[in-house]
């Protein structure tokens, strides 16, 4: 996997040297304000790296995070601020893009020590799963909300239904994804679902949220914050942890994915049709090189589509591939969401998935996989822009 000459690439140029998160809470249960959560996660990431927080010179986030870069820099007393990037739109689809933007800032020489984070207290600012306080609506949501298509479950159910129709995907494929996340959460003390078991019978008996989504196909809504620290690869060994390198990242969506309402030409899609090939090209790996995947579960159906679009199986093979035993650590065919992810660890808007990928490459996961040199994160299926990334150990450079 040699580096490719003068081709523009982020491959191997930047390392993640620290990760940190707050305690994770049910929505409304955080004792701390959202901004304080952000500060706690950032300090934890710096502490993990053994890095003075005053050396941070850039911040990156997504989904209009309310913890503003300049306020963070002032609160932390960073010596100077050199990069402040916010990924446009796409909600959790920006969780890898925020990392890509930070890495690009470093590679371009704009900054040297960038924190990427997400802080979110849904209990303080309104839940994603409830539409409230809206009298009139215009734009995309005007074509949806008056018909009861209000919150993410209803906004995405018809994409998944169409995909199941086109490719013969069964409910059991969605169920296997939920079961894997819940299984992994049982070994993860950070997980909000720690100690709460899910089995096929309980899944099948659970209430519908919006068909084809049962309760357990839907992510949680939580309070917390998570952060990581990036430095140029030449500084990676100055810090106490095993460095984890970004091998590739990609952002965006295909032709007119943003055509509202529900008018994207490729409707039954997780929006990775153009983004996944970009990722593999930069990372210089293929699907068979990937040992472990964290794939954002707003809804399990989005994972079914996203994994297919990343080439792990053809859509028609989804029912065979998506079996519980294939998806679990340490040595399933493709261990998936090994922290419990959005379904069972914490809905940290996907950023907990990036931290888990770092842990896997370090060898520190509570569900450590055997093949951990190359770890993938897939952000926010079915939105636009989406994003993804691949991390690797030093051996992959």
């Amino acid at each position: 996997m040699a580096r490719s000459g003068n081709e523009r690439s982020l491959r191997g140029r930047v390392a993640i040297v620290g990760i940190g998160e707050t305690d994770y809470y049910r929505h409304g249960a955080s004792p701390d304000p959202e901004f304080k959560l952000a500060l706690k996660a950032i300090l934890a990431a710096c502490d993990d790296a053994g890095l003075d927080p005053r050396d941070i010179d850039g911040f990156a986030s997504y989904s209009d995070d309310r913890s503003d870069a300049s306020r963070l820099a002032a609160a932390l007393g960073t010596r100077r601020l050199r990069a402040a990037t916010m990924q446009w739109g796409g909600g959790g689809g920006g969780c890898c893009a925020a990392v890509a933007n930070a890495v690009a800032s470093i590679v371009a020489g704009l900054a040297d020590c960038v924190v990427v984070f997400r802080s979110l207290a849904q209990g303080q600012y309104g839940r994603f799963g409830q539409a409230a306080g809206i009298d009139t609506i215009s734009g995309e949501k005007a074509y949806l909300m008056p018909y009861g298509v209000l919150a993410p479950p209803q906004r995405f159910a018809m994409r998944v239904r169409r995909y199941m129709h086109e490719h013969g995907v069964q409910q059991e494929a969605l169920r296997a994804i939920a079961l894997a996340s819940y299984h992994h959460a049982q070994a993860n003390p950070r997980a909000l679902i720690y100690g709460k078991l899910l089995d096929p019978t309980k899944y099948d008996a659970s209430r519908w949220i919006a068909e084809p989504f049962h309760l357990y196909d839907c992510c949680m809504e939580n309070d917390g914050a998570a952060a990581l620290v990036l430095v140029p690869e030449e500084r990676a060994r100055e810090f106490r942890n095993k460095p984890v390198y970004l091998l590739g990242a990609a952002v965006g969506s295909g032709y007119r994915t943003g055509a509202i309402p529900h008018n994207s030409p490729l409707y039954a899609s997780a929006s990775f049709d153009t983004v996944a090939p970009d990722l593999y090209r930069m990372a210089e790996v293929g699907p068979s090189d990937v040992g472990v995947v964290q794939s954002y579960e707003n809804f399990t159906g989005g994972v079914v589509m996203a994994l297919a679009e990343h080439g792990f199986y053809k859509p028609e093979q989804a029912n065979d591939f998506l079996k519980f035993e294939n998806l679990i650590a340490p040595s399933g065919r493709l261990p998936l969401n090994t922290s419990g992810g959005n379904l069972a660890e914490c809905y940290m808007h996907g950023f907990e998935l990036v931290l888990e990928a770092v842990r896997q490459v370090r060898g520190e996961s509570t569900n450590q996989v055997k093949r951990n040199d190359v770890a993938m994160v897939i952000g926010g299926p079915m939105v636009t822009p989406v994003s993804n990334l691949i991390l690797g150990s030093e051996a992959t450079l």
Partner: protein
């Protein structure tokens, strides 16, 4: 296609659709109030476009023309919603939302409710006809376009 005696499919209290401050979708919402379904079609290259935009995505001519089309189509996807994601829907029970493709309008799609029994079987490909649901007492007043199986 309109039936004043028909009560609204969903309870009152959901967000009321209005055009954007720049008026982009005003011809669509005004049309629904008059039992007319209006969709953009570029007068230069005849490309259909929905939702509306100031520009034809194919030939880049500005201000695509609004054309009245027949409100009929076929179900492209559907969902039966059980969880109330809005206080107005508490205690309401399940309802059906459908994504309808209009083959005679360049295959544009629209979201609406499928009238009738919420537990009725729904099949992708079912033919449906439009039904205008008016809310003249609402402030501001508005109209919706629903669908029923043919």
């Amino acid at each position: 296609m309109s039936d004043d005696a028909h009560s609204a499919y969903l309870p009152a209290g959901l967000p009321i659709p209005v055009a954007e401050p720049d008026g982009l979708s005003a011809p669509y919402w005004d049309g629904l109030r008059q039992n007319r379904l209006m969709v953009q079609r570029c007068s230069h290259c005849q490309t259909w476009q929905f939702g509306p935009e100031w520009l034809c995505h194919r030939c880049h001519a500005f201000n695509p023309e609004w054309v009245e089309v027949e409100p009929r189509g076929r179900i492209f996807s559907w969902q039966r919603v059980w969880h109330p994601s809005h206080s107005a829907l508490r205690q309401h029970g399940p309802y059906l939302a459908v994504l309808v493709e209009l083959p005679h309008v360049g295959g544009v799609r629209m979201v609406g409710n499928l009238l009738g029994d919420p537990m009725q079987p729904v099949t992708i490909g079912n033919d449906v006809a439009g039904f205008f649901e008016h809310h003249p007492e609402s402030v501001p007043s508005y109209s919706l376009l629903h669908w029923r199986k043919q």
